[in-house]
Amino acid sequence: MIDPAEDLSRAVEATLFAASEPMTVSEIAAYVGIDADVKGALSDLAMRYEGRGINLVERGGRWLFQTAPDLAHILRREREEARKLSRAGIETLAIIAYHEPVSRAEIEAIRGVQISKGTLDVLMEAGWVRPAGRRDVPGRPLTYATTPGFLAHFGLESRRDLPGIEDLKAAGLLDPVDLAFDALEMQGRDAEQLETVDESD
């Protein structure tokens, strides 16, 4: 550190590195010394960093270090995260699968609950649902349908493989919710203590 030019170069380097904003030559000089040849030091530094992973660049009279543009791809990393569909999401998907093509208003009528825009977006992002044209009624609402990706994900050859209403009923999947709840409650008790339904009149 006997070389004053080298000293200045180091100081400018550190100043720009630590700066939270790009800096003008005079802003840099305020740190490293008013009389210093900051411009000279900057062009010297820019040359040193040429071809490195970091470059020293000037943008609108302000200097900053930035990572080399050709390395942008390594500074991003994609990561897949398993996420579970929300209840609204899975219900909406089921309604579309059973009723396609179906408009948003129809989905809401079947669910009995409004759906948010995000719900359909998620299903489309997952690649399971696609827009399927507009219905020829007043307002021309957009309809939605499932995709081949949907069939592939759920292991279905076609939508006809979805269990029908009768199948669902047989599987107990159509039981009204509160009855199903009662059934659960009763399981623990001694059934003999309770009158059964068919004894009533």
Partner: protein
């Protein structure tokens, strides 16, 4: 903050300010003892514990004279040191355990350790510290992790969800599971009939029908109890009970 300065602060509390204990940088008795020890400008291993104790006790006495609030820690320490001092001064009793020398030595060891940590802390604080002396990059571009959601759902989730949707839409009908009960009318009729037959006091349980069904038995007991109240009101029977929860006795009026 040099130790010397601290001592001065102690010696001359600024214009009646409350005791420096409240400043937060002064916390406890070892602290003060250590400061006093250092003011002797000698190796901690060579200081006179006795002299130290005297200085400490002087300080506490002085603080008391100033009517300053003194933390319990200081007084406990003062009491302990006064004891230590008396032990060191009085002729030694042969089998006192632990000996005053041992206590003094332990005190010295503690002071050495606290002193070592205080010096270590100072050296630590004097290092080139990130954000004060050395700086990380001020404008990091940031590394990005692009999270791609992998949505997970099974076929069962799907059909179960559809079942729920359809079930919600179905007209709900409720069935109340019926239990065997004894109506109040039945109970009045039964109790009235049985009490007419009985001669003496009888416990209410005797009026209940035979059953193995505990639910029905409870219903019968409740109804029969209400029935006895009703019949008593009509003056057709008498009720007696010795104390709360004692058997309820019934006889014809």
């Amino acid at each position: 903050m040099g130790e010397q300065l601290i001592i001065e602060e102690f010696a001359t509390p600024a214009d009646g300010e409350p005791f420096l204990l409240e400043l937060g940088s002064w916390e406890g008795p070892l602290d003060l003892l250590l400061a006093l020890a250092r003011s002797q400008k000698v190796d901690l291993r060579e200081i006179s514990i006795l002299a130290l104790v005297e200085q400490y006790l002087d300080f506490i006495a002085n603080a008391k004279a100033l009517k300053l609030e003194i933390a319990a820690d200081y007084l406990v320490m003062a009491a302990w040191l006064a004891y230590l001092k008396s032990c060191l001064l009085l002729p030694r009793e042969p089998h006192v355990d632990p000996s005053p020398e041992e206590l003094a030595l332990r005190l010295q060891l503690r002071l050495e350790r606290l002193n070592a940590m205080r010096e270590a802390g100072a050296r630590l604080m004097g290092r080139d510290r990130l954000g004060r002396d050395v700086f990380a990059r001020g404008l990091p571009d940031g590394l990005r992790v692009i999270r791609k959601a992998k949505w997970d759902a099974q076929i069962f989730d799907l059909i179960q969800a559809y079942g729920h949707v359809k079930a919600r839409a179905m007209p709900a009908f409720h069935i109340v599971a019926r239990r065997r009960v004894m109506t109040l009318e039945d109970a009045i009729e039964r109790v009235a009939r049985l009490v007419g037959v009985a001669i003496d006091w009888m416990e209410i349980g005797h009026f209940l029908p035979e059953t193995d069904d505990p639910v029905f038995r409870r219903s019968a007991l409740a109804s029969s109890f209400v029935a006895t109240l009703e019949l008593a009101r009509q003056g057709r029977l008498e009720l007696a009970q010795e104390e709360a929860f004692a058997p309820l006795m019934v006889r014809a009026a």
